[in-house]
C-alpha cells in the first residue's frame, strides 16, 4: 500500500484577475522509504506542491490521501494534529525560535505529543546526536553557524520520527562545503533511519542522491526514468 497518493491535485492562484495554475492535475504516489527529489525552474510550483503535501496549504481541487485519509478534507485543527504526528519539515532558512536553545527548539514538536518528559529527553538527545550537535544543545540560534542552525532544523524535523520528512531547498542558503555535509546528513536519514523523504531543490547534486527524481514544469510532474542514485 502506498504511503501517500496525490490524485489530480490542482492549485490555482488568482491575482489581479489573472489565474495562475502552478499545479495542474498532478498525480504522484509515494511509497514508504522513498527518497524523492523535485526540481524545476523557479516559480513553477515546487514549494506549492510541498506545502500542499504537508497540509499547510489547501488545493483548489484534488486529493492527498495519506494512510487512507484524505488530508485535504481535515479541519485546520485536525490538520495541525496530523502534522504534529506525521510530518517533519526542513526549511530553507531554518526558522529556529530565537528565544529557545537548540535543545528546546528540537524538543518543541515533542511537546505536542503525549510523551513523558524522560521519553522527550531521550528523543531529543538521539536527534541531536544524529546531527552531531550534542555539544551545542544549550546554545541559542544566534550562537550557531548557518550550517549548525540547519542541522538543528533537521533534528527538529526528525525528532518525532515522522511518516514523511519534507525539505524545501535545504542547502539553498549554505556554502558548498556545508551544503555537502547537510546533503550527507539527509541521505543518512533515508538510508540509516529509513525515513521517507521529499526534497525540493535546485541543486543537481542533491537531486542526484535521490532514488526518484521528479521534475515540475508548466504544472506537470515528470519522473526521470529509473536512474540509480549516486551511492552515499
Amino acid at each position: 500500500m502506498p504511503l501517500i497518493e496525490i490524485k489530480n491535485l490542482t492549485r490555482q492562484f488568482t491575482k489581479g484577475g489573472e489565474t495562475l495554475t502552478p499545479l495542474d492535475a498532478v498525480n504522484l504516489t509515494i511509497e514508504p522509504r522513498d527518497f524523492i527529489s523535485l526540481m524545476g525552474p523557479s516559480g513553477t510550483g515546487k514549494s506549492t506542491l510541498l506545502n500542499l503535501l504537508v497540509g499547510i496549504d489547501r488545493p483548489t481541487s484534488g486529493q492527498i490521501v495519506v494512510h487512507g485519509t484524505d488530508i485535504t478534507r481535515l479541519s485546520r485543527a485536525r490538520l495541525a494534529d496530523w502534522r504534529a504526528a506525521h510530518i517533519g519539515y526542513i526549511f530553507q532558512t531554518h526558522h529556529l525560535i530565537p528565544v529557545l536553545t537548540a535543545y528546546e527548539n528540537v524538543e518543541l514538536p515533542l511537546l505536542l505529543l503525549p510523551l513523558p518528559a524522560a521519553e522527550r529527553r531521550k528523543r531529543v538527545e538521539i536527534a541531536l546526536e544524529a546531527v552531531e550537535l550534542t555539544d551545542r544543545a544549550d546554545h541559542y540560534p544566534r550562537q550557531l553557524s548557518g550550517g549548525q542552525e540547519q542541522r538543528v532544523g533537521i533534528a527538529r524535523a526528525i525528532v518525532t520520527n515522522p511518516t514523511l520528512v519534507v525539505a524545501d531547498e535545504p542547502t539553498g542558503d549554505l556554502d558548498p562545503r556545508t551544503a555537502a555535509q547537510i546533503l550527507k546528513l539527509i541521505q543518512r536519514l533515508n538510508v540509516e533511519l529509513e525515513m521517507t523523504l521529499f526534497v525540493v531543490t535546485h541543486d543537481p547534486q542533491v537531486a542526484a542522491v535521490a532514488a526518484r527524481r521528479l521534475h515540475l514544469d508548466e504544472g506537470r510532474l515528470i519522473e526521470a526514468p529509473g536512474a540509480d542514485p549516486v551511492p552515499a
Binding site: I56, D57, A77, A80, Y89, F91, I97, V99, L112
Partner: protein
C-alpha cells in the same frame, strides 16, 4: 498548555524593556485604581455599616458641621422616654476642620461611663480604667495615631484643646479609627468652647422592633417647639448626607479609576499586537510544527494575561501597602471615610487586571491564530 510556559516566559523576557514598560504602566494604573476603589469602599462601608440602620443621630436642624450643632444635653433623658428608644448617648464633637480634608482630627466626647458600651473598641495600648479616672484623658484611633505619630503618654493639642493620650484603639469600623475619644464634660469645658450643658449630637439606640423612621419623626416632633429644633436620621443616612458632596467627587474619581483600566487595556493590547506582528513567522512555524490555531491563540492570551497580572499585582500590592502604612482617611464635617486595605480589594484588583489582560489579548490572539501559514512563512 503548561509545557509551553517556558516559551511564553522567554518571549516576554526577550523583549524585557518593552515588557517592563508595559508592566510598570499597568502597575501605576492599577495602583490608582486600587486607591480610588478603596475610597469608594470606605464610603460604602460608612453608609452601610452594622449600626447604620439601628442607630439614630439627632442633630440640630439644618446643620451638618459639628461646630454649628448645639443641642441641650438634657434632650437626652427626654428622648430616652420616647417609645422605641432603648438608649441615648449625648456626644460632643469637636473638629479642627469642617471642610473636606485628608487630615481631619475629630474629638468625640462621651459621658465617662458610656463610651465602652457605645463604641466597641479594642485597646492596643493603655486601659479604660486610666481613661475613666483622668479628666483630660483621650483614646486615639489607630489611624490618627499613625498619621500624627502619637501614642500613649503623649499630650496632643488641636485647635486649643489639649488632651493626654492614655491609649490607642482599633475598631471593627475603620472609620472609627480616625477619631479621638474624650470625656464629654472635658470637651464642653475646653477653653473657648463655651459648651457647658450643650452637646453636638445625640446617638439613639433603637429598641428591638422599633421603626427607625417613626422614631425619628417622633423625636423631631417632640422638639419642634423646643429651644432648638432637631433633625433625626439613621446614622447611615446622616453620614451619607454629610459626605454627599464628597461622594460626588468620589463617584467621579471612580470613573477615573475605570479610565485607568481602559489605559491598561490599550497598553497591553498595543504591546501584544506588537509582539504578534513581530512574530507572524514564528506563529506560522508553530502551526507548521502542529500547534492548533487555538493553541497559538492561547499562547498570545497567556502573554497578555501575564503582563497585566504582573503589573496589576505590583500596583495593587503597592496600593495596599500604602493604605495600610499610612492610615489614610478623607474627612468632612466630623465624618471620616477610612481608606483600608482589604482582601476584597486585593481579589477585586487581581480579577480586574486578569480580565483586562484577557480582553486585551483577544484581538491579537485571534490575529495570530488566523495567520495564513504559507504567506507568513514566505515573508522575508
Amino acid at each position: 498548555m503548561f509545557r509551553f510556559a517556558p516559551y511564553v516566559l522567554k518571549c516576554l523576557w526577550r523583549h524585557r524593556t518593552r515588557t517592563g514598560l508595559t508592566v510598570s504602566g499597568t502597575a501605576v494604573a492599577l495602583f490608582v485604581f486600587c486607591v480610588v476603589t478603596a475610597v469608594q469602599e470606605g464610603l460604602d462601608r460608612l453608609t452601610h455599616s452594622a449600626g447604620a440602620e439601628r442607630t439614630l443621630v439627632v442633630f440640630q436642624e439644618n446643620q451638618f458641621c459639628p461646630a454649628n450643632s448645639r443641642l441641650p444635653e438634657d434632650y437626652a433623658p427626654a428622648i430616652a422616654r420616647l417609645p422605641g428608644v432603648r438608649d441615648v448617648v449625648p456626644v460632643g464633637v469637636f473638629t479642627n476642620n469642617c471642610r473636606a480634608s485628608l487630615d481631619m482630627v475629630v474629638f468625640q466626647g462621651f459621658p465617662s461611663q458610656q463610651l465602652r458600651a457605645a463604641r466597641p473598641l479594642e485597646l492596643l495600648s493603655g486601659s479604660f480604667g486610666q481613661f475613666e479616672q483622668q479628666p483630660d484623658a483621650a483614646l486615639v484611633g489607630r489611624a490618627v495615631a499613625r498619621r500624627r505619630q502619637i501614642g500613649a503618654g503623649d499630650p496632643f493639642t488641636v485647635g486649643g484643646v489639649t488632651v493626654a493620650i492614655v491609649g490607642v484603639f482599633a475598631s471593627e469600623a475603620p472609620a472609627e479609627e480616625n477619631f479621638i475619644y474624650t470625656h464629654l464634660d472635658f470637651l464642653q469645658r475646653a477653653p473657648g468652647r463655651n459648651a457647658v450643658g450643650v452637646v453636638t449630637q445625640l446617638e439613639v439606640q433603637l429598641a428591638e422592633h422599633a421603626d427607625p423612621d417613626t422614631t425619628a419623626t417622633a423625636i423631631d416632633d417632640h422638639f419642634r417647639h423646643g429651644p432648638v429644633a432637631t433633625t433625626t436620621r439613621p446614622q447611615g443616612v446622616f453620614q451619607r448626607e454629610v459626605v454627599a458632596d464628597l461622594a460626588e467627587t468620589i463617584g467621579f474619581a471612580q470613573w477615573l479609576g475605570y479610565a485607568c483600566l481602559g489605559l491598561v487595556f490599550s497598553l497591553i493590547a498595543a504591546t501584544t499586537v506588537m509582539a504578534v506582528q513581530d512574530r507572524i513567522k514564528e506563529h506560522a512555524l508553530l502551526q507548521t510544527l502542529g500547534l492548533r490555531p487555538l493553541r497559538v491563540f492561547g499562547l498570545v492570551m497567556a502573554e497578555s494575561l501575564l503582563q497585566s497580572l504582573a503589573g496589576g499585582l505590583l500596583g495593587i500590592a503597592a496600593g495596599l501597602l500604602l493604605l495600610s502604612w499610612w492610615g489614610f482617611s478623607i474627612g468632612t464635617e466630623g465624618v471620616a471615610i477610612a481608606l483600608q486595605p482589604s482582601l476584597r480589594l486585593a481579589v477585586w484588583g487581581g480579577s480586574v487586571s486578569a480580565g483586562v489582560g484577557l480582553l486585551a489579548g483577544l484581538a491579537p490572539g485571534y490575529q495570530a491564530a488566523r495567520t495564513e501559514i504559507v504567506p507568513a512563512l514566505r515573508q522575508a
